[in-house]
């Protein structure tokens, strides 16, 4: 579905919003998960993103792609969430257990052991490094788009990508 028309409209109805969620929901969730490394937080944030889309569509100017705009909302929500929670909300021991159960379910979902291992290595990177790596690998974002989204220079994006790849390769070799 083409989304360039969205810069010309002020709000979306439920049907259009549903279609946007179908088209972009998984990507938004994956990006939220890349940032938070937390299944429940990613789900929370992803839903909040589309509520904000409904409220703030009039602010989309079309200067970036709609997906980049969505990702900037996702990023702001995720960063605020991380900042406001030194102590994460899933705090108590009982709830920590349920979080571990959810992560095991994700592992079982993946087809191969190798994919599981590499996924763990990538998610084990610092947030800044895994963010650029997953934006490139999962969402095919260009250096320019990432620089726009993250509000950093293209040089910094390239540097982080380089460091991320080197760390993954190193840990991948060490794990064999």
């Amino acid at each position: 579905m083409e989304s360039g028309y969205l810069k010309y409209i002020q709000e979306v109805d439920s049907t259009e919003l549903y279609n946007l969620m179908t088209q972009y929901g998984d990507d938004v969730w994956r990006y939220a998960y890349a940032l938070t490394n937390n299944y429940e937080q990613a789900s929370d944030i992803a839903q909040e993103v589309f509520i904000k889309v409904h409220l703030n569509l009039s602010t989309f100017r079309g200067r970036s792609s709609f997906k980049t705009w969505l990702f900037s909302i996702t990023r702001n929500l995720a960063i605020n969430e991380l900042k406001s929670n030194y102590v994460r909300r899933v705090l108590l021991f009982g709830q920590v257990k349920s979080l571990q159960t959810t992560q095991s379910a994700e592992g079982a979902y993946m087809a191969s052991q190798a994919a599981e291992e590499i996924r763990a290595i990538v998610m084990g990177l610092s947030r800044k490094l895994r963010e650029v790596l997953l934006l490139q690998l999962e969402h095919d974002m260009s250096i320019h788009e990432m620089a726009q989204l993250l509000e950093i220079s293209e040089g910094t994006v390239k540097s982080r990508l380089n460091r991320a790849r080197k760390q993954v390769e190193k840990r991948w070799r060490e794990s064999k």
């Binding site: 509520i51 030194y86 994460r88 108590l92 084990g124 690998l137 070799r173």
Partner: protein, 300 residues
């Protein structure tokens, strides 16, 4: 190297493609939330509000007439207006707790061997407790925190109690008998503009933590005179909550809601008199707990 690089990047791509988790339930939840907000702005309200106003006028007109006829110079509120019931509620059983939820939740803490973690910070506070924050092997980007009790400080096989994710600073620890359950209270900075508090109930074979995640100011007082201490908390946003032990649970009530404080009215707590004050302009109403169960009574 290039073959290796393309191999792992393909694995990442392949593993991500299987994740897709923005479910139909989530889509429905989003649409429901938006529709609920929209109902608040539904055009029907443009008809309902004037109609409601008319009904209220018809209801109150006789009372107003009576007042004018009687020539009363001051209002005398009925006794019922001066007493306000407090409707306590237990904390909801949630996996992810929203910002607006200030309920107190409890958990039995588990002991962790010191040797199994990498300690980042350890601070002894008032000789009562040693706070630790640490990371675990395999993921040094996630911080956890916990504490050791004073009798555990010098054990050879050191263990400590884990609370969970995150870390705290600017810690204060003191003895406490809050709710008739607590032994110690630990509170500290747990985020920007945020203080969290843990009441620790320490028995011979287990430690239970009662957690509250937004406690800027804390008062522990027996409000209803039953010998069991309640807790009054002011959040960072100056909301006031009263926490009370009721039928085996710690339940809470937001005082602003109970007193139906309106926009422009300020609600404060005076710990000297154990009074809740509602101030509007130059007028202040003062409320205290009554002898009757879970009610506030206006005292001025």
């Amino acid at each position: 190297m290039n073959r290796e690089k393309s191999h792992w990047t393909n694995l990442v791509k392949a593993s991500s493609a299987r994740q897709g988790v923005f479910s139909e339930e989530m889509k429905e939840a989003v649409i429901n939330q938006i529709q609920q907000k929209q109902r608040g702005r539904h055009p029907f309200s443009y008809i309902a509000i004037p109609l409601l106003g008319l009904l209220l006028c018809l209801f109150f007109l006789p009372f107003i007439d009576r007042e004018l006829a009687g020539g009363l110079s001051s209002k005398t509120a009925s006794p019922v207006d001066h007493k306000i019931a407090l409707h306590y509620e237990p904390a909801k059983n949630l996996t992810v707790i929203p910002e607006s939820d200030k309920g107190i939740r409890s958990a039995t803490l588990r002991l962790i061997p010191l040797s199994s973690v990498h300690i980042n910070n350890a601070v002894t506070i008032n000789t009562l407790l040693k706070y630790v924050d640490y990371t675990k092997p395999g993921d040094d980007s996630i911080s956890y925190f916990g504490f050791a009790l004073s009798n555990q400080f010098n054990l050879v096989n050191q263990e400590f109690y884990e609370i969970g994710y995150g870390k705290m600073s600017d810690l204060m620890v003191q003895e406490s008998d809050a709710f008739g359950l607590s032994s110690l209270r630990m509170d500290g900075k747990c985020g920007p503009d945020r203080r969290c508090v843990y009441w620790l109930s320490i028995d011979q074979d287990k430690v239970t933590a009662y957690e509250q995640l937004d406690a800027s100011t804390i008062y522990e007082q027996d409000l209803d005179g039953d010998g069991r201490t309640e807790v009054i908390v002011l959040t960072y946003a100056s909301d006031i909550y009263v926490y009370k032990y009721i039928t085996g649970q710690i339940q809470s009530v937001r005082v602003q809601d109970a007193l139906r404080a309106e926009y422009g009215e300020t609600v404060t707590y005076n710990p000297q008199n154990k009074e809740f004050w509602v101030t509007s302009g130059k007028v202040t109403k003062r409320y205290q707990y009554t002898d009757e169960e879970d009610q506030l009574e206006q005292v001025n």
